[in-house]
């Protein structure tokens, strides 16, 4: 197997990153976020140093208090003298591609603290609640020695479940009065939770929301009754020590005998992401008549998208070097 070689500049950057230099981490993140020529080699270089951090995904509907909860969690972990890195994702405008990244406004009380590193990302059209490269950025922060990595998704509806693949501990935050009992039994983000949090628990409808979440868990698969439902008031840190306790329990469940986290789900997700991207790129660059023939077959209804995609993958047709045998299989000649 081959991998991209680290350039001299890349090697120096990684050295500074390991030495705890925040500017080096920031620059490495920029390379990875923008998938520059350095990105792949930087990531490969840090892989052996990852798996130590506690990675915590925080998702939930807009306005539930995700950023405020992140802020409160930073406070709890800083009190334990743990360093905290934050990945905060905000949506990009579908019209202009621009974005306002404002999550860190709610984390302002930690803005002096060198033990806290907050990086904002625009989703750049990626669905699933994260930016496409968020999973890879975790590896950089982990390798740079940050103890806790908090990943805050965009305000999620019901299907933004991608954070489940990249964070070891998944917290789904909801708030009182955001929906009725039916919302709670719908499939989706609630199913990925290791911990359910009802934030703004000082509001009158909080108990009812907690009750309906607990009732929902009773109807679900085996074992989901054990998923804790916690009440918090993120603005006053009420309920935060209990939440941190549950995070520790959920994290320890995923530690291997070595004390490191099993990163295979995260690696698999990153691989799937890279594969999809490469396949798209290869297909776009490929101007062969065989692809035209497949598109024509789609147009006439002779084949369908899934079948055509299968033909492309199984036929090895997306290889960098065109395989004549595969060509023959596709065109039937």
């Amino acid at each position: 197997m081959t991998k991209s070689e680290l350039s001299e500049a890349g090697r120096r950057l990684i050295e500074r990153l390991y030495a705890g230099n925040p500017a080096a981490l920031s620059r490495a993140i920029t390379e990875v976020e923008n998938e520059t020529a350095h990105a792949a080699s930087l990531l490969a270089a840090v892989q052996k140093s990852t798996g130590k951090a506690i990675t915590i995904g925080i998702t939930g509907p807009p306005g539930a208090g995700k950023s405020t909860l992140v802020n409160a969690l930073i406070g709890e972990y800083r009190a334990q003298d743990k360093t905290v890195a934050v990945i905060a994702v905000d949506p990009s405008s579908p019209l202009s591609g621009g974005a306002i990244l404002g999550d860190r406004i709610r984390m302002a009380e930690h803005s002096h603290d060198t033990g806290v590193f907050v990086r904002s990302f625009a989703s750049r059209g990626h669905l699933g609640g994260l930016s496409r490269t968020a999973g890879r950025v975790i590896d950089l922060m982990d390798a740079a020695g940050w103890d806790i990595i908090l990943i805050e998704t965009v305000g999620a509806g019901q299907s933004e479940v991608e954070v489940a693949d990249i964070a070891a501990v998944k917290i789904v935050v909801s708030a009182p009065g955001l929906g009725d009992d039916i919302q709670a039994i719908k499939a989706g983000i609630l199913e990925i939770a290791d911990i359910l949090v009802v934030n703004k628990c000082d509001q009158p409808l909080a108990d009812q929301t907690k009750r309906s979440l607990k009732a929902m868990l009773k109807l679900k698969r085996q074992g989901s009754q054990d998923i804790p439902v916690l009440g918090t008031v993120a603005t006053t840190s009420e309920g935060l020590p209990e939440l941190v306790g549950e995070i520790t329990i959920a994290d320890e469940k995923q530690r291997l005998g070595t004390g490191l986290v099993d990163r295979k789900p995260r690696l698999r997700r990153n691989l799937a992401e890279a594969l999809g991207q490469l396949a798209k790129q290869r297909l776009r660059q490929n101007t062969s008549p065989e692809i035209d023939a497949l598109v024509a077959a789609l147009e006439s209804g002779e084949t369908d998208y899934m079948a055509a995609a299968e033909t492309l993958l199984d036929g090895g047709y997306l290889g960098a070097v065109a395989d004549t045998a595969a060509r023959a299989r596709i065109t039937g000649s």
Binding site: S93, S96, L101, G102
Partner: protein, 145 residues
């Protein structure tokens, strides 16, 4: 809008206010215009402290910092420039917008500010300037790597 070709990635801009002035309508309008032009804008509340702005610019790896000042806070900008230099962020371009008396503009430019925008500035000019400065910053940052 001006054609910008020197960007190697989407431009990332910090729009902020330092000092004690809380009039943030202007910074909000500029932030929204930059977003609508396709830029990624890190927006902060007013009343930021200078070391905070430098730390934030470093963590976010922004290309440009836009400081809005309506009540003499532009006088703090030279201190911000020093702080950015201390943090190794010389490649980050800084612009100032708002109320800056004509006789004080040169002080800001001498301190390293790239451009000062006054009341009535054309939004397309602001956006175009930010984009082109972002491209310069990205290229300078790449040389530093």
């Amino acid at each position: 809008m001006s054609e910008v070709t020197n960007l190697v990635r989407p431009a990332k801009v910090l729009v902020t206010k330092i000092g004690l002035d809380g009039h943030d309508r202007g910074s909000r309008i500029v932030a929204a215009a930059l977003r609508d032009a396709g830029l990624e804008v890190v927006y902060t509340a007013p009343w930021q402290e200078i070391p905070t702005v430098a730390k934030l610019a470093l963590e976010e790896d922004v290309d440009v910092i836009g400081v809005s000042s309506l009540a003499t806070d532009h006088l703090l900008v030279p201190k911000l420039m020093k702080e950015l230099h201390k943090a190794g962020l010389d490649y980050v371009k800084v612009i100032v917008g708002g109320i800056v008396p004509d006789n004080e503009e040169q002080d800001l430019l001498d301190a390293g500010v790239a451009r000062v925008f006054h009341p009535g500035a054309d939004m397309a000019d602001i956006v175009g300037t930010v984009q082109s400065l972002a491209g310069e910053a990205q290229n300078d940052a790449a040389r530093q790597l």
